[in-house]
Symmetry: C2
Subunit: 334 residues, 2 copies
Amino acid sequence: MIQDTHISLAHGNGGRLMRELIEDLFAKHLRHPKLDIQTDAAVLPWQANNLIMSTDGFTVQPLEFPDSNIGALAVHGTCNDLAVSGAIPRYLTLNVFIEEGFEVAQLERIIDSLAQAAQEIDVAVVAGDTKVVQRGQGGGLYLATTGVGEKATSHKLGLEQIQQGDAILVSGTVGNHGIAVMLAREQFGLRGDLASDAAHVLPLTRSLLNLSGLRFMRDPTRGGLATVAHEIAQATGHCIRLQQSQIPIADPVQAVCDMLGYDPLYLACEGRVVAVIEHAQASQALQIWRDLGQHDAHIIGHVEAGQPRVILETVLGGERLLDELEDDPLPRIC
Amino acid sequence: MIQDTHISLAHGNGGRLMRELIEDLFAKHLRHPKLDIQTDAAVLPWQANNLIMSTDGFTVQPLEFPDSNIGALAVHGTCNDLAVSGAIPRYLTLNVFIEEGFEVAQLERIIDSLAQAAQEIDVAVVAGDTKVVQRGQGGGLYLATTGVGEKATSHKLGLEQIQQGDAILVSGTVGNHGIAVMLAREQFGLRGDLASDAAHVLPLTRSLLNLSGLRFMRDPTRGGLATVAHEIAQATGHCIRLQQSQIPIADPVQAVCDMLGYDPLYLACEGRVVAVIEHAQASQALQIWRDLGQHDAHIIGHVEAGQPRVILETVLGGERLLDELEDDPLPRIC
C-alpha cells in the first residue's frame, strides 16, 4: 500500500517509493498479461513476437549540460531501453510539453540535437505531438519518447533467466551523468571538464547478443547501479555480491561525491550497460566490450545463494549492505 | 519562418502558429520520409505495412470534468487518432508527469478511469514511465500516450484521396468538450448538465471502412471543426463549403458561446469524427452512423473547385469566410 496521501519527489527517483507507486497504483489498475513493470520494454504479442515497445519521460534540469541535452537524452533513453532488451530501435514518437515563454532558439538547439541523435542510431521519428502550458506550470520543456524496435535475437533475456553463479558486468564508469548534470545545475563553484556519459548503447548490447550465456541487460539510469542490483536481487530471490574495487568510477566523480556526500553507486548513468552473464562467458563478454573501446568495462560481481540483498565488498575487505534507494540524492537528472 | 522569439500559448492551439512551429522547427529537423506532419498517425513500413503508430500529450485543466477526466481522455485521444486512420488500436504506452504534492487519491481515480477506458476499447497498456517534478513546475498531472494499431482496411485513406464533389460528414454535435471543460474551469456562475463528448470513436470509424468512397477521417480536437476544414482546404487546394444550418450544435453549447463570444466551430470535440466521402455514398454513410445511435450526425458540406479556403453558408443565406485559428479561445482543453 502507498503510505503517503500526496506525491513527493521521492516517488519519481527510481527507489522504493517509486516501486510502491508503480506496483500499488499503476500496475494494480492497468494489470494486463503484457504489462511487465519489471522490464525496460514490452514485447508485443504480434507478428512472430518480434516487436518491442518502450517509453520514457524526460524532465532533466538544466535542459542543456556538458556534452548533451534533453533532446539527445530523449532519444538515447528510449533507444537504450530497447537495446538492453535485445532489440534494434526502429521508430520513435515524440511528445513535447513547452512552457509559455520558452525561447524558440533554445527549442531549436534541443530538437536539432534530438534529430542528430536519432540519425546516428538510424531511428526515425514518425509521429509527434506538441502542447504548450502556461508560464509557471512547466519546467521549460518536458519530453517523452516512445520507441518500437525489432528483436535482434531469438535468445531469451530477462530477470527470470538469471542463475546463481552468474557474473555481473558494467560497461564503463558509473555516476558521470548524475554528477555532470548536478554540477551544471547547482552553484557549488565547482567547475570541471566532467561530461555526461549520455550516449546510445546499441553497439554494446548488440555485441553480446550472440553469447549463449547472456541472461539480462539493463541501463542503470535513475537510482544507478545499486538500484539495478536491487532489482536483480528482488526478482531472483538471490544475493548480489559486488566488489567495490572492481566498480569503475572516474576520479572527478569520486572527488565530487566525497566532497558532497553522494554515493556514486546510486547516481544515474545514461550511456552504460549492466549485463548478467553465465560465469564461463564473462571474460569473453568483457573482452568484447573492451575491444569496442570500453576500457573501463569490468566484471563487478556475481549472483550467489542467500537472502535477496546487495552486498558490497569494500576495498578494505569489509562488507556493506547497499540499501534500496529512499531519498533522491539528485532529482531531475533524466 | 517562425516570427516569434518565444513560445506563446497560441503555439499549442492547433491553429496557424502551431502549424508554423511544427513545419518550420520540428519537421525541418526531424524530416524523414515516414514523418507526415499532416496525419494523425504514421504507418510503419514493416510487416506488410499494417502497423500504425500515434502519440498525444494531455494537459487539460481541470483534470476532472463532467463525464470524463484526463485519464480516460488520454486513452480516447490516442486511440481515436488510430481509429480515424483506419486502424484498430492494440497497444498503448503511458507517460506520467506528476507535480510534487499531487494527491494520491486523485491520481488513483484518474488512472482507474484510464484503465477502464483502455478495457472498453480492448487496448493494453504495455509500458509506462513516471516522472515527478518539483512543486510549481507542473500542472498537477500531464500525461502522454502512444498507441500502436493494426490497419483494418486495405483501402487508402488520406487527405490526398479527397476529390472535388466529395461530401463532408460529422458524427455528432460539435464543441461540447470545449464548453464542458471551460465551464468546469472558469468561475462564470454558469452551471448546467453539459457533459464532454469525450469517447472513443472506434465503432464509428470501423463502420465506414467498407465504403469504397471513403476518402479521409479525422477527429476534430484542438481548433475544432473549422481547423479540420482548413487542413482539408490547404492539403487539397480546394474550397470547402459548409452549411451552417446542417452543423449540429447542442443548444446549451450555442447558448454559452453566444453569451461569451466563442465560435463553436473552433472548439474541441473529443468523441466526434469528420469524414470525407464520395458524394454518391454520403447518405449511406450518414445512415450507418445514425443506425449506430448518432442521431445528430449530418452531412455538413462538400469539397468544391475554388481557392483553398473555407466558406460557411450562413443560416440567413449569406456567406462567411472561416479564418484559420489564430488566438486560442480556450487553452488547455486536451
